[in-house]
Assembly symmetry: C2
Homo-oligomer: 354 residues x 2
């Protein structure tokens, strides 16, 4: 349905990003970076949840120095997020950061940026130019952070890099408004062939943040734009990674274990489908290897159709369900043992696929 | 940024839908429709949550008869969802349903559909032609529910209505796969000018369902497609309405009270921003009238910028925050009383707007 926007490939540690590679999941630590042990602990939790690249804030020299200690205790590539002071970027690079993120809005002096570029070039690490609606390059913007102002800020800033023949770049253009974000990325996609890091900035607490991120990031992924994503939530960063995986599954960009298709139920449903699906989800979560679609449907309207189309499905009637496998009914079971039966079948299915 | 797709206007009870009107929020009851008291109770909860049209399943004559009793106990327009048996549709129309939803996949006999059309015409109520990936019109589809098969099913079915000069139609084309859903609506938008009811069918339990619905419905709304939306979750229908409101806010389609913009926090943040935002959200939820954007930001990087751009904002530093109003700092406060101060200011703001 959509083709990925063609981009260069950029390597962050051992992770490749760009149109030739799967869309990469990022998150960011919320601990004090100078506390290396605490930060490394959060990174390990994020990695376990599926985070593939982690960013951390380097706000002072102690944080920059901690990069080296944190790297010893963790394995996924690390991005140092630097604002205002280019010396922090230079120190983070010396300490082994796998990538640097700088913000045109607060590192505006061309000579400072040039020093960062040269240091990154020497260490062969990429730089993310992270445009943000909350801070734009002064010389090109008016008072409001429109998509045009964001793209103008980007284009102007990229000149610094072009002059130094540096192309190991990732670009982001995050606004807190979803429409502005989408518009900015669309416009920027005509301006360069660098991989895009997608995100809606300051998306808010989880319930709003999940929806805003899904709409913004999802809309762009659905048109082939985006090479790495970061969901921002005012909450646990593990939830950011979880949401990122669900967005990538929804858009068909990647798979992370079984997909559960289940109906919302209605007056037709004669089993407690909500509880059954909750049980299935809970017991499934340990299995993440399978590429299966599992349908759990409450009645005979769309139940048989969806169950047939899935790898494994169940369509319930009055207290009983017909289990489908690869489009054929293989068993009729009581609702009370339906989840056990489905899981047993999923287990067999996984075996068969190995 | 986008223009709404031009459609006819359709009236469901006292609610108008189509490109000239705001996008309408729907949900569906999950109770046994034949139990009128129980169903009316759920409808009142949904209405309180912001549901503007409610659908209920009419699976037998007792349910069709209950439509009349339920209508007496509720105020929002009601859609009767009918499958298989056109006589149930005729009875629901007699009992005062404000709209009928039928499914080409299981009411295929043209004569049966014609009777429903004529009854709806006489009562001046609209019909939703609800295509679903789980059940398609047999004569036009292959084995898989592709977007093309769904649109072919629609086009073929619409002929029945055209022959009877009936245009009081709403169309939906829901698939359980997000990409197929988006593609089907896009293709169908060239085929007719009827309002579209958007949804991803069988989107699953809340965490997946919210993301899938946000991506699917959000992508379409962002290109101007969609006149009413229903979020399907295997869970509490009130959560469907809540998610629908957040999707409509994200896409800029509608507003429902204050928008909270808040940063995800990082190593820079020196206050417990997550708890502060949670407190703000909790205490704000009672106010739903305001059209304000409120920014709560954890540091000096994008904090002042986002706080300035919001109607009311706070950008925290070490233990203290600067409160912005209409772009200017009006006060510097301790984190411990920041939410009280923000709420007091929001209260004043609301007064000013009245």
């Amino acid at each position: 349905m959509f083709e990925r926007r063609k981009t260069r490939t950029v390597e962050v540690g051992n992770v490749k990003m760009g149109s030739g590679h799967p869309v990469v999941i990022q998150s960011m630590t919320k601990t004090d970076t100078a506390d290396a042990a605490l930060t490394a602990g959060q990174i390990r939790l994020l990695e376990k949840a599926g985070c593939e690249i982690v960013r951390l804030s380097v706000k002072d020299m102690r944080s920059a120095e901690a990069v080296e200690d944190i790297k010893k205790e963790t394995t996924i590539p690390m991005v140092a997020d630097i604002h205002f002071d280019h010396k922090l970027a230079l120190e983070a690079i010396r300490r082994g950061a796998d990538k640097i993120r700088i913000n045109p809005g607060n590192m505006q002096k061309e000579q400072d940026v040039a020093e960062v570029i040269d240091a990154a070039k020497e260490k062969k690490i990429p730089i993310r130019v992270g445009i943000n609606s909350g801070s734009l390059l002064e010389k090109v913007t008016g008072k409001t952070a429109t998509a045009d102002a964001m793209v103008a800020s980007l284009v102007k800033y990229l000149e610094y890099f072009r002059k130094r023949d540096f192309n190991d770049i990732v670009v982001s253009l995050k606004a807190s408004d979803v429409k502005t974000t989408v518009e900015a990325y669309r416009k920027a996609s005509d301006e360069c062939d660098y991989p895009f890091h997608l995100g809606v900035t300051a998306a808010g607490p989880p319930r709003d943040g999940v929806v805003r991120s899904s709409v913004g990031i999802g809309t762009l992924l659905m048109e082939g734009i985006g090479d790495t994503i970061r969901v921002s939530l005012t909450g646990d960063p593990v939830e950011e990674v979880d949401t990122a995986k669900r967005i990538l599954s929804s858009t068909g960009s990647r798979r992370f274990g079984p997909d559960v298709i289940s109906c919302p139920t209605c007056g037709r449903c004669q089993v407690d489908l909500i509880s059954l699906v909750e049980e299935l989800e809970k017991r499934l979560s340990a299995d993440t290897g399978a590429d299966l679609t599992i349908a759990v449907m409450g009645c005979e309207v769309n139940g048989p159709g969806e169950a047939k189309a899935a790898d494994i499905g169940i369509a319930f009637g009055k207290g009983k369900g017909a289990i489908f496998k690869q489009g054929k009914i293989v068993k009729t079971v009581d609702a009370s043992c339906a989840i056990d039966e489905l899981l047993a079948m999923i287990g067999k299915e996984q075996e068969r696929e190995l």
